[in-house]
């Protein structure tokens, strides 16, 4: 789903957009209170995290990001999200010190990541078994009622540029075809 606050979309539930807390679920049967801003699951340590970052920074009211449940083996999106917030990304766009299999942030700019790291505090509740405990942390955050971070940051999705040229006729047949407004083919494999 997509809405004005969360333009990158994804599988999540929007609750109270003025709330200061969003909740990330990892393999957990837990429904947060309705006064969180948004909650949803994350499954991948790359595209999934990009969506969380982009959607969180587009709502400046979100100042806490609570991560709960059990991290997904191998991919470890929860731990990767925590590492992203703590260390950021390197020159290759790899999340520094991330334990996940493919922890790359390729579709978001460095500025968006910086903004995310500044805007929110991460509350790492992975492994906490009692839902009441998670509820308690959510309530505490809401009580603190921190101010909005300011203006929304609408992250632009980076469009990949290929580092190779399409020279093979066979591949060109199936590669992306760009057509102009008159319906004429402008290019292939771009």
């Amino acid at each position: 789903m997509k809405n004005d606050f969360y333009p990158w979309g994804g599988e999540f539930t929007v609750c109270s957009s003025n709330s200061c807390i969003a909740v990330v679920l990892l393999q957990i049967d837990y429904t947060p209170p309705k006064d969180v801003a948004v909650f949803g699951q994350v499954k991948t340590e790359n595209i999934g995290i990009e969506k969380i970052v982009a959607n969180v920074i587009s709502n400046p009211n979100i100042r806490y990001l609570l991560v709960c449940g059990d991290d997904i083996r191998g991919h470890l999106p929860g731990s990767t999200l925590v590492a992203l917030h703590k260390y950021g990304i390197d020159k290759e766009n790899r999340v520094i010190n991330a334990p996940g299999a493919i922890p790359y942030i390729e579709n978001l700019g460095v500025e968006a990541v910086k903004r995310f790291r500044k805007q929110v505090e991460i509350l790492d509740l992975m492994g906490v078994r009692k839902n009441e405990k998670i509820d308690e942390v959510v309530r505490d955050c809401i009580k603190k009622s921190p101010p909005s971070f300011g203006s929304p940051y609408i992250a632009i999705k980076i469009v990949a540029k290929h580092g190779w040229a399409v020279t093979d006729d066979k591949r060109v047949l199936h590669s992306k075809i760009v057509i102009d407004y008159m319906g004429k083919i402008k290019g292939r494999g771009c």
Binding site: I102, A160, R171
Partner: protein, 268 residues
Amino acid sequence: MFFKGEPKLDEGKEQLEKMLTLSRLTGNPAIPDFFIRKESYIEKIVDFIESTLPKKHPFSIDITVPSIKIKTLWYLHKKDILFRTIYNSIHIGVTEEERKALKNYTPAAAIVVAFNPKDNSPDGKIEVLENSAHLLDKGLLAIADEVGIKNVLVDTAALAPGENSGASVAAIPVIKEEYGLPAGCAIHNVVEKSAWLKNFDSAAKVVDASSNINIPLFGGDYAIFGPAENAGLVFPIIAWEDILISEYTENYFGTKPRENHPRRKFFK
């Protein structure tokens, strides 16, 4: 085959036998894939494979954690069954240690996943096979070659709806034409990620199983389906699709189906 928690091998054996029977009935070859979640399950699952599957029957091992991958390779080597092992998988998260282990204990085949976090189009998938989208020192196909993998199966990396999910099937003919390598994917994962389907209780399982026809329709060579209990639906569906395609390709290209093709099984 996913074993949730402690592997229930009796159930696993039953599912395996059912799948192999369906394979015989329809003529479509079946290769079981075993997900190994924890290090403590390695011996249990590999021993189960060795004792349950027919001798020389291929199988694949699906592992996400590099350290468990490495230990499993060693154990498969010890059991002398690497010659029928498909390694699932080599992707851009492959570690140096994993590459060393693959060199030392080389499986017969590997699934190479064409997932490109920079570009989810068919061209992006080619890019990751060619040069790892510059995230590694060389392309994934070159890495497979370097570690000594003789047989590569390309997985076109099915992504969620909204992430160019269709590119996984669109990439199949592209990759086959470009490299001549067998290609397929786990298209049913797209169904799992279609949250809206949960509103249609009775449809979810049917859509999951029938999503697999997209692979042969686009010329794919293998479908990674799951869970194993869906075999009863998936095998007849794929056989049905194979008959449809075979009639067309014979009429148009003159390609005759092999002896154990579903069309030969059911229309003698």
